[in-house]
Amino acid sequence: MDAHDRFAASSALSLMLAVIATSETPLLLLSGDLEVVAVSRSFCVAFGLDSAAVQGRSVLEMGEGEWNLPQLGSLLAATASGATEVRAYELDFRQPNRDVRHLVLNAHRLDYDDKDRVRLLLAVADVTTARANEKLKDDLIRDKAVLLREVQHRIANSLQIIASVLLQSARRVQSEETRGHLKDAHSRVMSIASVQRQLAQSAEGDVLLQPYLTQLCASLGASMIEDPTRLSIQVAVDDCLVDSEKSISLGLIVTELVINALKHAFPDGRDGKITVRYHARGPNWTLSVSDNGVGMSADVNVAKPGLGTSIVEALASQLEAEVRLGNAAPGTTVEIVHKRLAVVHDAPAQAV
């Protein structure tokens, strides 16, 4: 080896030692028989060691014996022999007068020019705080999920009380008209319960409209249609997500319009079906409920609008939508149309 080579070698060694000494990750460079060749300042600070005192000693003899861990010795010896590597080996590290720390060890036998002098690089990460934070986060997430389930459970129970009392009253009153009103009120409560159920299944607070309206109509049918072979409710709804507030309004509108159709469109045991549609295009959407019943007779038109009509109008205006009544010939169609003027140049939204 000439002078130049010796200088280059000593320069490389000094660079390597400087790199290890300044490493932010606690690092140890070990010989094949596990003696400390170099140690990072971060390692000494983290484990209360003196750099000069550990160099030249076995890694297992560092400090007051806290590193004398049989599993560490055998893992490092196996790494030195080339049999294995230490990858993310976790251990609980106990040091006098300190809390137990959770360490993650990685050790590799270095691949370099000098085949005769084995060198191992041992990196030690203290993940105690990170693990504690993760656990805290997991616990919080679990607590939140438990609370949410509890709240949903209580809402369901409260809605059950309201629904039960309304139907019990409906069974007991003498007046047919009052009974009708109580049953309508029950349907409105069940409509809100349907949205609650869908919300309980969604994480984001958005509701999938298709299953929601399908379930809502099934529930309306179950409580209001006496002969399902005669009357049916069909749902043809785009696959879309709407926020919970809008979904509650849409559900209540559907509830009112379906109740109305069931009451007026099919007198005298007439057969028929009711179709609920929702179609969205960009910010524009149309909700419609149509039936193939008798259609609107003149006296229904002039009759004093009922609570259902007022509910539909109030909710439509809250949704910035317009209520359009149409003759479906046969039957009646009610459309709730929401249109943003900004996209008026686009093809108009149409109910499918």
Binding site: R149, Q152, H153, R154, I155, A156, N157, L159, Q160, I161, I162, A163, S164, V165, L167, Q168, R171, R172, V189, M190, A193, R197, A200, Q201, S219, A222, S223
Partner: protein, 124 residues
């Protein structure tokens, strides 16, 4: 079928829901018997041999919830049919004894009545 009305045991800790359930069941032509928790339900089942269906809530105070009650009834009185109602979404029918029916709260009264009549018809 005999002329005696089939008896349904309603197990529900919430008084108003229990009252309305009793009213619903009597309105459908069955005899309704009330219990406000699982322990009371078991005492009643030990005394009466004419209960055909147990209609129970899940979340109730006492030593057993409605799920445990359902399994207990299935083991001890196998002929008794079970209908379970709960506001909890996690409950799947697979957690219930085979042959029992589950309804999410708030349930629809008509669905409960048709389940009762199916279970009683199947059992008779």
């Amino acid at each position: 079928m005999s002329d005696v009305k089939a008896a349904v045991l309603v197990v529900e800790d919430e008084a108003l829901i229990r009252m309305a359930a009793v009213d619903l069941i009597e309105g459908a032509g069955y005899e309704a018997v009330e219990a406000s928790n699982a322990d009371e339900a078991i005492r009643i089942l030990e005394l009466r041999t004419d209960i055909r269906v147990v209609f129970t809530d899940v979340d109730m105070p006492g030593t057993m919830d409605g799920l445990k009650l359902a399994h207990f009834v299935r083991d001890r009185w196998p002929p008794i049919r079970i209908v379970v109602a709960s506001g909890m979404q996690i409950l799947a029918e697979s957690q219930l004894p085979p042959g029992s029916r589950f309804f999410r709260k708030p349930y629809d009264d008509n669905s409960i009545i048709s389940a009762l009549s199916e279970l009683l018809d199947a059992a008779s």
